[in-house]
């Protein structure tokens, strides 16, 4: 179990490097990332940890299935959303048509960014650990962090009592906010 945790942590570090590179290419700006920590904790404790924080954030959740099970939650501060849109829209300026304005352009851009982050992260995990892990289409929600985690933890609670939490930060050059990746995994071999 301990070895597996170490391997997973190593794989996460490698996945963060790969994700930062992919995101840097997408936004045409330097992005750096690091794993803030890994903790095994009861699901309820995770919710309590964030309960008092009432700042609204944009959350993007993806279900992880296969040899690892859990959720990947991207948390983007609303200030950073604007910055991100500016960076990506500048790159895609030539491709934006008038009719795009009546569509969910911003949501699509955010989802595309999420896809780049999640896709790079999972594919690098698969490569490093030689695993087969799939992920669902990302879902977007705007709310406080505790509420976003509430539904994910309730889903995990169907199958386990504890959760492995990897907290990852992706930092953008020239911006004080960062994208947080909260990687919630069902602990290996645990059943309710």
């Amino acid at each position: 179990m301990k070895n597996l945790m170490q391997s997973l942590l190593q794989a996460c570090r490698s996945a963060v490097r790969k994700t930062s590179e992919s995101l840097s290419l997408l936004v045409n700006s330097k992005v750096s990332g690091d794993v803030q920590g890994v903790t095994l904790m009861p699901l309820e404790s995770l919710l309590v940890k964030f309960q008092g924080i009432q700042d609204q954030v944009l959350g993007i959740a993806t279900r992880i299935e296969g040899e690892l099970k859990g959720f990947l939650l991207l948390i983007i501060n609303t200030d950073l959303v604007s910055h991100l849109l500016d960076l990506v829209l500048t790159n895609y300026e030539a491709y934006i048509r008038e009719e795009d304005l009546t569509m969910n352009l911003e949501e699509d851009i955010i989802k595309e960014t999420a896809n780049v982050i999640i896709g790079s992260f999972i594919s690098e995990l698969n490569n490093t650990l030689k695993l087969s892990v799939n992920y669902s289409l990302p879902s977007i929600a705007v709310d406080v962090i505790a509420v976003l985690l509430d539904q994910l933890c309730a889903n995990l609670a169907l199958e386990c009592r504890n959760v492995l939490v990897f907290h990852i930060n992706l930092k953008f050059a020239e911006h004080r906010h960062s994208v947080s990746i909260i990687f919630l995994l069902k602990p290996f071999g645990e059943n309710s």
Partner: protein, 185 residues
Amino acid sequence: MKLKLFFVPKIDGNLRKVSLSVGIGEYLIASTPSSLSTWALGSCISVILYDPFKKVGALSHCMLPEPPSPSESDNKYVSIALPNMVHDLERLGINRLNLHAAVIGGANIFGFSGKFDIGRRNVSKAIKILNEYKIPIDILDVGGNKGRNVVFLLSTGEIFVSYTTKNVFRRSLYGRAFNYRSTTP
């Protein structure tokens, strides 16, 4: 109707400080002039039971509808917490026939469907149990895709609910895109 629901943009800071906060997988019983509160309900639900004559009530914060095995006794399950609340209130001399209920929460923040729509399943389970106990449901503020904060005043039976997010965010994003486009040649 013995319980009254008020939607507020934000829970008053003083009320937040003085109310007894109920955590996940817990319920608390209190009497007037106390107030009970619970925060950041997503797909979790809060069931409030209230005797308006004795001004005694309970508030729960449950995560899942029922336990995976019958041996579980954790109050994070609606099917465990709700009967426990009723029995505890009865032990305190409250007549079940005088109880009124409110069910709040059960949102589907990320739009999950089927068995992963835990919010809907929590609400269904709470309503089923309350019907079995023949406890009238005065307030049903459930579903949607927003989180909720709840404060319950036992002195009056008033329940204050604030949503944890507002719709303005998306509108401001659209506005931003439009401004961006209008400045480009």
